[in-house]
């Protein structure tokens, strides 16, 4: 039932109420639809083609975060979605607004993050005429959105928005884009938000097939050297608790992918590190020694190395996306469905434990790789991350950027409790850490949020420091500055020989602390671990953002 007061305050555009339908301006209907979906925050950037939506937004109770570059809006929504479990929402304008946000959408798509993006479009009658700020947004984003819409009739808006949220959140989550021409936003429509949804081409499978699960259990029981490989899907399905219980019950050695970090506690007896080209050697070794891999919520990506080292190993693949099963590796037992559901069945139906012999073997493999950190005289970023990990609480969220800093984080940040590690695993988008951390902090204001970046990544979206300040967000920002693109430098030297580096050194770097101060943030520069530890510890006691620039030796290696 509509309350009279609500009608009066929220909708200047309301003409009359007839039954459950209300006549209103489409832009109001858009905002009203978002409210119905439980949206209370939008990340965006205004522009000519979204003016009506922004006017409706202004009159609503939804908070708006004004980013400094549209790409960041999608990264904000990314961090927000992954931490809050809700779909993130962005609004940007047509043309350059849409093209700027592409990288952020692709980042979310590759990491299966639920998101709804609304883009303004030029007026319907101008589409295809190459008018000012026109771009084919739907065509451009087709290959990296889960679905997209170009709205042709204003009356379809509530249905489209309802569908968009449903598609974004369910099944394998992902970004859904709605492109809305300017004239459509201004039309009058009968607003009637649908309560049910029926998309005949979209029926995600969530419950695993009983027979397949039985076969999987039998296979695990019969195997001699099973190992679980957990991916980001476990976190997307909110199944960490179930995974931890399952591997404990069966005593299964478990490795994670980069995106799976966070699903298993690192101090767990069953935890055997991160696989992959930058993972722990013992994790990769265990995979290659195993006779059965139980892959859960991972697409067996090229960088995870399972795709190379496990060609002949038997495999159970649990994933909500049937297309991921068998895409990169042959699978013996496919189980399509939601990880949480399937793990619950596995917990219930498994009544055996893995052989002690195999457990002894994996422990030996791990021990043979564990060597003490080399004695390094200068500033050691790995030690810095270890320190961050040691002194922060069990609910801290660490966001790694892309490159060396990402791997320093991934390999040295311990998972305890419901800690989270966020990064751009699929697309590898430099610069995403700061805006993702903004979204994460907004999604979980009470948790400590730490953004780690390199100097290359920071300079890509450095202007977002303004958003941190503007919204009074308490984010601790750690910049590892080696004045170059460290990981690419390493790659070039590895491929072409020592000193063969090109296009990876910043001959001039700005004074980053001054920049942070210019944005109104406090910050300092440190050159030793002792100094870092003191400054970082102090920063945790502050209720505001703090920027720490750490000078790192340019030759310091990733691993």
């Amino acid at each position: 039932m509509w309350k009279a007061a609500e009608l009066f305050i929220s909708f200047k555009g309301v003409f009359y109420v007839k039954g459950r339908e209300m006549k209103m301006i489409a832009s109001d209907a858009i905002i009203k639809s978002l409210e119905r979906e439980g949206v209370d925050i939008i990340f965006g950037y205004s522009g000519a083609a979204v003016c009506p939506i922004y006017e409706s937004l202004r009159r609503s109770g939804i908070k708006h975060i004004l980013v400094r570059q549209e790409q960041s809006a999608a990264h904000n929504a990314n961090g927000y979605a992954r931490i809050s479990g809700k779909a993130g929402v962005c609004i940007v304008t047509s043309g350059p607004g849409a093209t700027n946000i592409l990288t952020g959408i692709a980042t979310a798509y590759m990491d299966s993050v639920p998101m709804v993006i609304i883009t303004g479009q030029v007026g319907s009658k101008f589409i295809g005429k190459d008018v000012f700020q026109e771009i084919d947004t739907v065509g451009t984003t087709a290959s990296f959105t889960k679905h997209n819409y170009l709205v042709k009739n204003a009356k379809d808006l509530p249905k489209i928005i309802k569908e968009a949220f449903y598609i974004a959140r369910t099944g394998r989550p992902g970004p859904v884009l709605i492109d809305i021409p300017l004239d459509i936003q201004k039309q009058q429509i009968d607003f009637n938000y649908p309560t049910t949804i029926d998309i005949r081409g979209y029926r995600p499978v969530t419950v695993g097939h009983g027979r397949q699960i039985e076969r999987a259990i039998k296979k695990i029981k019969e195997s001699e050297r099973p190992v679980v490989c957990a991916g980001g899907g476990v976190l997307l399905s909110d199944a960490s608790k179930e995974l931890r219980e399952f591997i404990k019950k069966v005593n299964l050695p478990t490795v994670v992918t980069l995106m799976g970090i966070g699903s298993v506690e690192t101090n767990s007896e069953n935890y055997y590190g991160m696989v992959g080209s930058h993972g722990q050697g013992y994790a990769n070794r265990i995979i290659s020694q195993s006779d059965l891999i139980i892959a859960i919520g991972t697409r067996i990506a090229d960088r995870s190395t399972i795709s190379q080292s496990a060609r002949d190993t038997a495999m159970i693949h649990i994933d909500i996306d049937a297309a991921e099963i068998g895409k990169n590796l042959d699978v013996d037992i496919p189980v399509v469905g939601d990880a949480k559901n399937i793990l619950n069945v596995l917990i219930e139906k498994t009544e055996f434990t893995v052989s002690d012999e195999w457990l002894r073997e994996v422990r030996e493999i791990k021990d043979s790789y564990t060597q003490g950190e080399q004695d390094y005289k200068g500033m050691n970023p790995r030690r810095a991350i270890k320190f961050v990990s040691d002194i922060t609480d069990d609910s801290v969220i660490l966001i790694g950027d892309v490159g060396q800093n990402q791997m320093w984080c991934a390999r040295n940040f311990e998972i305890r409790g419901d800690r989270r590690f966020l990064t751009s695993g699929g697309l590898g988008t430099m610069g995403c850490s700061l805006p993702i951390s903004i979204g994460a902090k907004i999604g979980a204001p009470d948790r400590t949020v730490i953004s780690v970046m390199g100097d290359g990544g920071l300079q890509m979206l450095i202007s977002e420091l303004g958003v941190v300040r503007e919204n009074g967000l308490d984010i601790k920002i750690i910049l590892f500055n080696n004045q170059r693109l460290g990981m690419v430098r390493e790659l070039q030297e590895k491929q072409y020989g020592k000193g063969c580096i090109h296009g990876v050194v910043f001959e001039h770097s700005p004074d980053f602390v001054k920049i942070a101060e210019g944005f109104g943030l406090k910050g300092t520069r440190v050159i030793s671990n002792e100094e870092f530890e003191r400054v970082f510890k102090d920063s945790l006691n502050m209720d505001e953002a703090f920027f720490i620039e750490v000078t790192v030796d340019p030759d310091f290696s990733t691993i």
């Binding site: 739907v138 065509g139 087709a142 290959s143 889960k146 679905h147 170009l150 598609i167 998309i199 005949r200 081409g201 979209y202 996306d321 049937a322 297309a323 068998g326 895409k327």
Partner: protein, 160 residues
């Protein structure tokens, strides 16, 4: 690599064709032929796509097609239990000396003559792709001026 025929039911909306064909491009699969048209329900279109790939690739492309929200159903048609037809329009050089010959050949192939000009004929042939191939081959010596094939359209037989 065998030829596979995919029959895809999609929402009859603008943009769907490019989403489907874009998927093939993005995943690196070549389409041999594609035909689209409305079905018995005006809101559903049927696309018939033929491609030459290994079994595993076809499995993957079917799964990827199924992920598209606008795709309602993907069926792989086996040649033996479906009816596959193609329409061919072909313009052949035909002067006083060759016209009778070509008309004779058309008769054998059950092709219709749909246009008669002073120097050419347009012939229309419907049938299996192999029949169209053979027809083109036979006409080649006379000089083919233009040729257009619709690509395969197919329906599954009742008893299969």
């Amino acid at each position: 690599m065998n030829r596979h025929i995919l029959s895809i039911l999609v929402e009859n909306q603008s943009g769907v064709l490019s989403k489907v064909s874009g998927l093939f491009t993005r995943r690196g699969y070549n389409i041999d032929s594609l035909s689209v048209g409305e079905t018995e329900s005006p809101d559903i279109s049927r696309m018939t796509i033929t491609l030459r790939r290994g079994e595993q690739d076809v499995e993957q492309i079917k799964k990827q097609l199924n992920k598209l929200i606008d795709v309602i159903k993907v069926i792989e048609l086996k040649k033996e239990d479906s009816v596959c037809r193609e329409l061919l329009l072909i313009k052949v050089k035909a002067d006083i000396k060759t016209r009778a010959d070509i008309i004779g050949i058309s008769g054998i192939f059950k092709a219709s003559i749909v246009d008669v000009g002073k120097e050419s004929l347009i012939l229309e042939l419907t049938g299996a792709s192999e029949k169209a191939d053979a027809f083109i081959e036979i006409l080649k010596p006379y000089g083919i001026l233009e040729c257009h094939r619709t690509g395969i359209t197919a329906l599954k037989r009742e008893n299969s």
